[in-house]
Subunit: 305 residues, 2 copies
């Protein structure tokens, strides 16, 4: 059997970078995780890693990056491949893609949001295999969302920004919200930092059974509900650090069932919703593998032209 193409992949997160060389989930040949520090230091570390990898493994066929944002994803734009106006210190305007592309000998590139990449990975090899209408919501330092309709990522006026959905406040929540634009939008109320600011304790230390999780589940269920009413997916994947909390996924499903009240009589929405709202299944490799799928998708597209 022909080997799948070798891809240089980078999950560029606000907290850490996961870079690797892989052909698919069973063939991750190199993987390196490093903290996201200042841009110069970080980019040069990545350049070194990719250069060394090529020296040892031979040339790759494409580079694929799934990045934190906002980032310029518009092919042909003067700042394509750059990080845009992020509050992340020193990173606004940084050209991330180009030095990496050059380090790999000028291969074809694909540059996407981290959550778009994660969604593509889960559809290719993970929790949404073979589905064509999928939402991926990641709940961590920020809240991001990706939407696939009929097998394609959705863009229109830019990409989805599900973190800034407006939700109805939980009656027992008095926290003002911390989004610098919108105050109490979804991200302002339900991201990791919002949990920490509201309860004055890190989310991982908030005990199971604390009212915090009921409130959190309420907001996330509202996001699932609104996504379902606007662009009805067959499945919603809830990922990100906050979702690792024991029992949270269960609470979200429960709340969503209450919100639906039996409206929309689809098999997918019957029962306890455990096949509708699911965790990602690629674990720590989701971002990396999403990039591998993107890179291979790019090559398929170039091959078909």
């Amino acid at each position: 059997m022909l080997k799948a193409p070798l891809i240089a992949a980078l999950e560029a997160g606000g907290t850490k970078m996961v870079a690797g060389f892989a052909r698919g989930p069973d063939e991750i040949l190199r993987r390196r995780t490093m903290p996201t520090l200042g841009p110069e230091e970080t980019v040069s570390g990545l350049v070194d890693f990719f250069r060394k990898g090529v020296a040892e493994l031979g040339p790759v066929e494409a580079l694929a990056v799934g990045t934190f944002g906002p980032a310029d994803l518009a092919v042909g734009s003067a700042t394509y491949g750059s990080i845009l106006g992020t509050p992340k210190r020193g990173w606004a305007g940084v050209r991330l893609l180009e030095p990496l592309r050059l380090a790999l000998g000028g291969v074809p590139v694909v540059f996407e949001t981290d959550v778009n990449a994660a969604l593509l990975g889960e559809v290719a090899w993970g929790a949404a295999r073979a589905l064509k209408n999928v939402v991926y919501l990641t709940v961590g330092t920020g809240i991001g969302g990706a939407l696939m309709v009929d097998g394609k990522l959705v863009y229109g006026l830019g990409h989805p920004e599900m973190g800034h959905l407006r939700v109805k406040r939980h009656e027992r929540d008095e926290y003002a919200g911390h989004c610098s634009f919108h105050g109490d939008c979804l991200e302002g109320l339900a991201s990791g930092p919002a949990l920490e600011a509201r309860w004055e304790v890190a989310p991982e230390d908030l005990e199971v059974g604390h009212i915090a999780w009921e409130i959190e589940a309420d907001y996330l269920a509202q996001a699932c509900l609104n996504v379902l009413m606007i662009a009805p997916p067959e499945r919603v994947i809830l990922g990100g650090g906050v979702m690792r909390k024991e029992g949270l996924l269960f609470l979200v499903r429960e709340r969503l069932r209450e919100y639906l009240r039996g409206y929309l009589a689809y098999d997918e929405l019957a029962g306890d919703l455990s096949d509708f709202v699911v965790p990602p299944s690629l674990g720590g490799d989701a971002g990396l593998l999403g990039c591998v799928e993107m890179g291979q998708g790019l090559l398929r597209k170039l091959g078909a032209e």
Copy 2:
């Protein structure tokens, strides 16, 4: 120039039926509006109209219906072309499409939601000409929404149900909401009947400047905002009877601008949003013309196969 194909079109609304024969906006050859009464009476009236039209104009090339719902739109389903479990008396389970198709001599058919049809009409000839990412929200007896992404109507788990979006309550609104499933979802709070129940006066008699319109605009702006964060359209069309109120569209734009707070720096969202949130431009013919576009689209598709 070759004439565009002649389509038998039906906008099947819960209140009235608008049937016609047309080739496009400048060639509406027959048009008849009748109230939506009991199903037998209504369907036989439509059958008569279509039979007579064919006798006078000659055969049509397709039949296209944009219907109130819920309806079975799944080609191949045993109840395809039927109205499903509507609260509208006598209409649940009624086969609407088949008798009309037979009356027209068994032509190819397309059967869609009314709001999907209206969206297609506005993209073909109206307020969203040549755009590929569009939302159409209709605010009347109910609230319905249609979503186009990359030039195609969005389906996933069924079609969008934007009337059942969850919104944050306006602080001056004490009305409980009238949706029989969800109480205070968007439709429960902002449809025509909700306005009437809350203020005990018909929406058309509520004066401009009444707080009612501020509250109404708030809910509709939230819907626009959430649509924008989930499946970013280039334009949102707000139609339906309630939207005809003088000044309401302006209030929705104003409220949406406040909600956005400058987030998302796209040209389309700069200024007063008068090119982003727009009224339909096909007026009373929107539904009918949407059906004509659907019928012609079907023929293009059949021709291409």
